[in-house]
């Protein structure tokens, strides 16, 4: 809004003012909730990150000591970062690809699409703890279904969660099966692509691959952009499955950053340091999100814009 248009903004009539107040009243619960239960705790945690706070006594100001400790005196900090980044690298690209592949299959005119759509979406609504426990049974060394199958074909059983080499990849593979929500989002995006584009491409002699690269991907790019951002944020906050299944082991190979924050805050009762760790996580996620945003002008195509 330009300065001149601000200056020339007409005075509101009584009815308009009443409407504005009503609008504010309607959104006030959510705004109050945001302030009370999101913004205020965030500000409090930022303040606590500069203190030594053991929860049962009053916080003591220590300046930037927690941040210095993070980078110079805590070996678990770098281990947790390594684990989390490795997990994101394993889980995010493949997870999105699996979701896209599933959506493409569902969009291929298969009969019973609504049934399959529900079927693939269901794991997303089952509580994570419940699915984790089911996975723990399926992957159990002695009597798990997967190891029974391996033994049946003459292969040695695998201690999926007990072997430092397999624990993290196992968690990554498990997460690929929970892409139902993303799949449904991609399916909605695919259904929104005008069929006329594909028809025109076919007339021009485009094959399947060309249609996918030149029509499907560009038209789906806003949806891809959204799912990449959300997937990035979610992956960096991975916690529940590691907490339930591995507690960060074996040998800290699944010691996720969020799990470390939990341990530092609630097991070691160092809430000040845990707050500092949490703010650093926020900075990492912010930076990566900004990188994706900045790159989006190169690969995200909005139908309403003209490419230069």
């Amino acid at each position: 809004m330009s300065v001149s248009s601000l200056a020339s903004r007409p005075r509101l009539t009584k009815a308009q003012r009443r409407e504005e107040i009503t609008g504010w009243l309607f959104i006030s619960p959510i705004v109050l909730g945001l302030l009370l239960w999101t913004l205020f705790p965030m500000i409090a945690s930022l303040a606590l990150s500069f203190t030594d706070f053991k929860m049962v006594d009053t916080p003591k100001w220590v300046g930037t000591r927690n941040y210095v400790r993070m980078f110079t005196r805590d070996p678990d900090f770098y281990q947790a970062l390594r684990v989390t980044f490795s997990f994101v690298a394993m889980q995010l690209p493949v997870g999105l690809a699996v979701a896209l592949a599933g959506a493409l299959l569902l969009n291929s005119g298969v009969q019973g699409m609504t049934v399959f759509r529900t079927y693939f979406y269901l794991p997303s609504v089952v509580p994570v703890v419940a699915t984790s426990l089911v996975w723990s049974w399926m992957l159990n060394l002695d009597f798990g279904l997967v190891n029974q199958l391996l033994k049946a074909v003459g292969l040695a059983p695998v201690n999926f969660f007990g072997n430092p080499k397999t624990a993290l990849p196992t968690l990554a593979v498990m997460s690929w099966f929970g892409v139902g929500q993303t799949m449904v989002i991609y399916l909605a995006g695919l259904l929104n692509i005008p069929p006329s584009l594909y028809e025109a491409a076919e007339i021009d002699g485009a094959g399947r691959t060309r249609k996918f690269i030149s029509i499907t991907l560009p038209m789906l790019s806003p949806t891809l952009f959204y799912t990449i951002i959300m997937g990035l944020i979610r992956s960096f906050q991975y916690f529940t499955q590691a907490f339930v299944l591995t507690s960060g082991g074996p040998m800290k190979t699944t010691y996720f950053y969020n799990l470390m924050i939990y341990n530092v805050g609630f097991a070691f009762l160092q809430m000040g340091y845990a707050s500092a760790l949490a703010w650093f996580l926020l900075v990492i996620i912010l930076i990566l999100t900004m990188v994706v945003f900045r790159s989006s002008s190169a690969w995200v195509y909005y139908e309403s814009e003209m490419r230069k």
Binding site: K54, M55, V56, D57, R69, R73, P75, L133, S136, W137, N140, L141, D142, F143, N159, F160, F161, G162, N163, P164, A167, L245, T246, G249, P250, M251, K252, N263, A267, F268, L269
Partner: protein, 353 residues
């Protein structure tokens, strides 16, 4: 509740929380109340259990049970493997390693031991039993990488990495393999009897002392109890809260708790009280629960709370990491304990970081 300032006047606690609660003024020192009490109940409490509730000469917990871990063994599994069941005083460490190696057939899901070696009540007694010590005299440093402690921990780790009779870590994510009949031995407290009774297995079982170390036979301990919290001072209810706390060691209350397979009475005069002594199970070796009290040690406590204890905090986490390295990563005990000792000593020297 402590963080939210909503503590009750009195409540349950465990020996793991005695020091942190005392240091952070969550619980009060009940010594003046105990000293003024006309009933001389505490003179009858097992000294090891009494000590678990004490810190810096103060009394912060009234122990409710004589709880020291014993070794539960599956007699049927041992006999099937041609191994003579252990006597009540337990096997030596070498017998423990040799006999359970004979039992284990991992490819058939038969294991010798469901290990909980990263619990201080297992590894600290082994360290002391081999002639070592967790802390030095003034508690300013840990001595966990002394030759004696290294030897003890290596033998314990060998159950995984050399003899392969302990259930691999991560293999059992649900359920207790001993109760499921998959492991021949398990070291734990009295309350396992109740679980075994509930499971009602077809196999025979009994209890004995944990393995005898070469220098001296040492066992762990640990118990729950009651505390008066600082809220009682604010509410002026210290006396009535104290009456509530000490009631857990009244003979009538002890009998009720014992009948439920929950405890071995903490009063020495009730050592063979019918309320627990005539309970079945365990089948034969009831006296093991009394024998273990003669050998029980209290958990090693640091000079201050900054680095936590063997129960929680940095010391606990570092030791858990070291055990993971030894039993999962097959890192030699010397290397794992050198690293752990450095981390803990650095933490103590830096006041908790």
């Amino acid at each position: 509740m402590a963080a939210g300032a909503t503590l009750p006047d009195a409540g349950w606690t465990s020996d793991a929380r005695v020091m942190p609660f005392a240091e952070n003024k969550v619980s009060i020192d009940m010594r003046p109340l105990a000293d003024a009490d006309p009933e001389p109940l505490f003179s009858d409490v097992y000294p090891a259990m009494q000590a678990l509730g004490e810190y810096n000469s103060g009394l912060y917990m009234v122990a409710w049970a004589a709880d020291a871990p014993v070794m539960y063994f599956n007699k049927t599994m041992l006999q099937d493997a041609g191994v003579e069941p252990p006597p009540p005083e337990g096997w030596t460490v070498d017998e423990f390693l040799a006999n359970l190696t004979k039992v284990a057939q991992p490819d058939k899901q038969i294991y010798g031991w469901y290990g909980n070696e990263d619990w201080w009540a297992i590894y600290v007694p082994w360290m002391e039993g081999f002639g070592g010590s967790f802390f030095n005299e003034d508690k300013s440093q840990v001595l966990i990488n002394s030759p004696e402690c290294v030897e003890a921990c290596q033998k314990l780790a060998d159950s995984y990495v050399k003899y392969n009779f302990a259930i691999p870590k991560g293999a059992t994510l649900t359920g207790n393999p001993f109760l499921m009949g998959l492991a021949a031995c398990f070291i734990q407290n009295r309350n396992v009897c109740r679980s075994i009774r509930d499971v009602n297995p077809e196999w025979e079982w009994d209890v004995c002392l944990p393995p005898r170390q070469p220098v001296k036979h040492v066992c762990g301990s640990g118990t729950m109890g009651t505390s008066v919290y600082t809220a009682a001072v604010k509410n002026k209810t210290e006396q009535v809260s104290w009456e509530l706390c000490k009631s857990v060691i009244m003979p009538s209350v002890q009998r009720t708790l014992a009948r439920g397979y929950l405890i071995i009475p903490v009063l020495q005069s009730m050592a063979q009280d019918a309320s627990w002594y005539e309970l079945d199970p365990p089948p034969h070796n009831r006296d093991v629960y009394l024998m273990v009290m003669e050998r029980a040690i209290t958990p090693p406590m640091p000079a201050g709370p900054e680095c936590g204890t063997v129960y929680m905090g940095a010391i606990n986490q570092v030791m858990a990491d070291a055990w993971q390295e030894m039993v999962v990563g097959a890192v030699p005990a010397k290397k794992a304990l050198d690293k752990a000792a450095k981390r803990i000593n650095d933490c103590i020297a830096s006041g908790g970081e």
